[in-house]
Amino acid sequence: MKFSYWQSNLIILISLLVVWFIVSFGFGIIWSDKLDDFKIGGFKLGFWFSQQGSIYFFVLIIFIYVYLLNKLDKKFFSSSSEIDNREKE
C-alpha cells in the first residue's frame, strides 16, 4: 500500500505524539507512583521522568520528526532545492 505525503506525515505525527504522551502524562503522572519503586542513582524513576526525563524525550521527539520529515520531503518533492526556490519568491 502506498501512502501519500500527507498520510505518511500523519502516521509519523501520531506515532511520535503517542511517545510524547507516554513519557510525560504516562510515566510522569499516571504511572509515576508505580515507577517510583525503581531507582536510578538517587532518583526515583517516576520523579525523574516528571522533572527530567520527559524533557529529554521531548527534545528527542522533535529532532526525530525533523529527520523523518526531511526524508519525506525529499522523497515526494525530489530535489529540495526546488522547495528552496519556491520559498524565496
Partner: protein, 582 residues
C-alpha cells in the same frame, strides 16, 4: 569592587550590547518589523525563541515554586516544555508556510471572516498584556534589590530600553537582541547552579548532582530532602500532594497553552523555509531544556540550603542575605513561641499570608509585622518563592560577580519576553486592526508608523502595570495559558488538519472556549475565592487546569456547529492543501 559596583557594571554592559544590536539591525519595512524579513537562521531563531519564552517567571520564580511544591512543581517543567512538541509537529511548519505576519492573520484568512479575526485579536491582546505585567514586576524586583534604586525608576529604565530596541528594530531588532539576551540569561543561570552543585554534591552537572549523594556523606540529596521535609511537617519532596487528575489537567493546559501563545508562534514566521521552522522548534527546545532541566536541581539545592541555614538559628546570627531580603519585604519572621529561634515548618506563618510591615523593630532586631500570627501551625517564616533563585548565590556564599551576573540574567529574561509580547500586541493592532479592518488603504510606510506608535503605547501601558502592579498578576497567569489553550490552539490546529471546519464552527468554538474558561477561572479566583478548593472544583480540576477542559469544549462545539452549516468555499480547501505542502 563591591557587589553594587559589579552589578552596575554587568547590567550596564549588557544594556549597552542590546542597544548596539538594536541600532545595527533596525527595521526598514513592515516585513522587517513584523517577521525580520524571513531571514533568521534556525539556530538564531531557536535562541531568540528560548529568550522570548523564558520570562521573569521562568528565571526568577520557577525554581522557587518547585522548591516549595516538590514533585507537584513538575507540572511547570513538563507543561512549559511539552508544548514545543505540539508546536513543532502540529503548528509551526504549517503556519510558516502560510507566510503572513500574525496569528489573527491566519485565523481571519482561513476562516474567511473578520469576526473570527476580531475574536482572535481580543484573545491575543488579553493574553499578551497579562504576561507583560509579570515581566515588569520582575524588572522592578531586580532593580530594587541589586541596584538599590526605587522600583518605579527601575521600571522606567526597563521601559526605555525596551522602547529603544522594540520601536526602532521591530522583530529584526528584537530577534538579535534576544539572541544576546539568551546567552546572558543562560550563563547567569548555569554558573551559580554549577557552583552550588559542586558545593553540595561534588558533581559539576546540576542535572546529575541533584540525584547524587551529599558530599562527604552516603545519603542521597533527595532522600535527605524527603526526610527533612517530613520532619518539618511538609509532604515528602518527591511525592505528589495534588490529585493525579488535577496534575494531568494543569500539565495539559500549560502544554496546549504554550502551543497557542501568539508571541511564541510568530517567532516561527521569521525563518526562511518550512523545514527551518521544524528545526528551529527543536533548537528552541534544546535551549529551553538547558534551563528547565537545571531548574529542578536548583530548587532542590535551594531548599536544602535554606532549611539548613535558617532552621533553629537565632535571628541575630542569621546570614546577611536573610536581612537584606527582609528589608525588601520578601521575608518576614514572627517569633510565635518566643524562643528567639527561627522555626521553619509547614503552614502559613501569618494570618492573611502576606506580611504588613510596621516601622518598629522587635527585640531581636527583626522587622515587625501588623499581621496576627497564624496559630494553626508552628511555622514562623514568611518567604516569597521569588527570592529562591535570586538569593541562592548569596545563600551558598558564592562570589559577588556571580550575584551580579544573576541580576543581569534576570533582567535579560524579563526584557526579552516583554519585547516579544509588545511586538505581538503592536503587530495585531497595526496590521490586523488598522490595515485589515479599519483602514485598508494605508501604505506600507504608514503601517510601519502605526506599528511603532502601537508598540510605544503598549510599552507605556506595560510600564504602568509595573509601577502600579495589579494585585492579581499571579492569578491571571492561569488565565493567559487557559485562554491560549481554550481559544487559539484549537482553531489553529483544526484550521490545518480539518478542512471542513467553517467560520461558524470556528467562531462558536472560540467563543465557547473563551466564555467557559474565563468564567470558571474568574469565579474561583475573583468572585468566590473562598470556594477555591478541591471540594468545589468541577471533577476536581483547579482553575489552573481548566484551560484543557475549555479546549475540549472548543473542539466539541466547533465540530458540531460546523456540521450544521455549509462547507467552506473552494479556495479555502486549496489554501489548506497549499499549507500542507512543505
Amino acid at each position: 569592587m563591591g557587589l553594587q559596583g559589579l552589578t552596575y557594571l554587568f547590567v550596564g554592559a549588557s544594556f549597552a550590547i542590546y542597544i548596539g544590536i538594536a541600532i545595527w539591525s533596525r527595521a526598514r519595512s513592515t516585513n522587517d518589523f513584523y517577521i525580520a524579513g524571513k531571514g533568521v537562521s534556525p539556530v538564531a531563531n531557536g535562541m531568540a525563541t528560548a529568550a522570548d519564552w523564558m520570562s521573569a517567571a521562568s528565571f526568577i520564580s520557577m525554581a522557587g515554586l518547585i522548591a516549595f511544591l516538590g514533585k507537584d512543581g513538575s507540572v511547570y517543567l513538563m507543561g512549559w516544555t511539552g508544548g514545543y512538541v505540539l508546536l513543532a509537529l502540529l503548528l509551526a511548519p504549517y503556519l510558516r508556510k502560510f507566510g503572513k505576519y500574525t496569528v489573527p492573520d491566519f485565523i481571519g484568512t482561513r476562516y474567511y471572516s473578520k469576526t473570527a479575526r476580531l475574536v482572535a485579536i481580543v484573545c491575543l491582546i488579553f493574553i499578551s498584556f497579562t504576561y507583560v505585567a509579570g515581566q515588569m514586576r520582575g524588572v522592578g524586583i531586580v532593580f530594587s534589590r541589586f541596584l538599590e534604586v526605587d522600583i518605579n525608576i527601575g521600571v522606567i529604565i526597563g521601559m526605555l530600553i525596551v522602547f529603544f530596541y522594540a520601536v526602532l528594530g521591530g522583530m529584526k531588532g528584537i530577534t538579535y537582541t534576544q539572541v544576546a539576551q539568551y546567552c546572558v540569561l543562560i550563563f547567569a543561570y548555569l554558573v551559580p547552579a554549577i557552583f552550588i552543585s559542586l558545593l553540595i554534591t561534588n558533581n559539576p552537572i546540576p542535572q546529575l548532582g541533584f540525584g547524587d549523594k551529599i558530599s562527604g556523606s552516603s545519603v542521597y540529596l533527595l532522600d535527605k530532602l524527603d526526610q527533612l521535609s517530613i520532619e518539618l511537617g511538609f509532604n515528602a519532596y518527591t511525592e505528589n500532594t495534588k490529585s493525579n487528575i488535577d496534575i494531568f489537567f494543569i500539565t495539559a493546559a500549560l502544554m496546549f497553552g504554550t502551543a497557542g501563545l501568539p508571541h511564541v508562534i510568530v517567532r516561527f514566521f521569521t525563518v526562511p523555509k518550512v523545514s527551518d521552522a521544524r528545526k528551529s522548534a527543536g533548537y528552541a527546545l534544546v535551549f529551553i531544556a538547558l534551563l528547565y532541566t537545571t531548574a529542578p536541581a536548583v530548587a532542590a539545592f535551594a531548599k536544602i540550603n535554606f532549611i539548613e541555614s535558617v532552621q533553629e538559628t537565632e535571628y541575630q546570627s542569621v546570614p546577611s542575605w536573610f536581612k537584606n531580603w527582609e528589608n525588601i519585604g520578601l521575608i518576614a519572621w514572627k517569633d510565635k513561641n518566643g524562643d528567639g529561634l527561627i522555626n521553619y515548618s509547614n503552614g502559613n506563618a501569618l494570618e492573611e499570608v502576606k506580611p504588613k510591615y510596621i516601622s518598629e523593630r522587635g527585640q531581636h532586631g527583626e522587622r515587625l509585622v501588623a499581621n496576627r500570627p497564624d496559630r494553626s501551625n508552628e511555622n514562623e517564616i514568611y518567604i516569597d518563592n521569588d527570592i529562591m533563585v535570586l538569593a541562592n548565590p548569596e545563600i551558598a556564599q558564592l562570589p559577588n560577580w556571580v550575584i551580579a551576573l544573576v541580576a543581569a540574567g534576570a533582567l535579560a529574561a524579563a526584557l526579552s519576553t516583554a519585547a516579544g509580547l509588545l511586538l505581538v500586541i503592536s503587530a495585531s493592532i497595526s496590521h490586523d486592526l488598522m490595515k485589515n479592518m479599519l483602514m485598508p488603504n494605508i501604505s506600507d510606510k504608514q503601517e510601519l508608523f502605526f506599528a511603532r506608535c502601537a508598540a510605544a503605547v503598549a510599552i507605556f501601558i506595560a510600564g504602568l502595570f509595573g509601577i502600579y502592579p495589579p494585585g492579581f498578576v499571579a492569578q491571571v497567569v492561569a488565565f493567559a495559558f487557559g485562554l491560549a489553550a481554550a481559544t487559539i490552539f484549537p482553531v489553529l490546529f483544526l484550521g490545518i488538519f480539518y478542512k471542513r471546519l467553517n467560520k461558524e464552527g470556528a467562531i462558536a468554538g472560540m467563543l465557547c472556549g473563551l466564555i467557559a474558561t474565563s468564567s470558571y477561572i474568574s469565579y474561583f479566583k475573583f468572585i468566590n475565592p473562598s470556594l477555591n478548593n478541591n471540594d468545589f472544583w468541577f471533577l476536581g480540576i483547579s482553575p489552573e487546569g481548566f484551560g484543557f477542559l475549555g479546549m475540549i469544549i472548543n473542539f466539541v462545539v466547533a465540530l458540531s456547529v460546523s456540521s450544521f452549516y455549509s462547507r467552506p468555499p473552494e479556495d479555502i480547501y486549496q489554501l489548506v492543501d497549499e499549507i500542507r505542502k512543505p
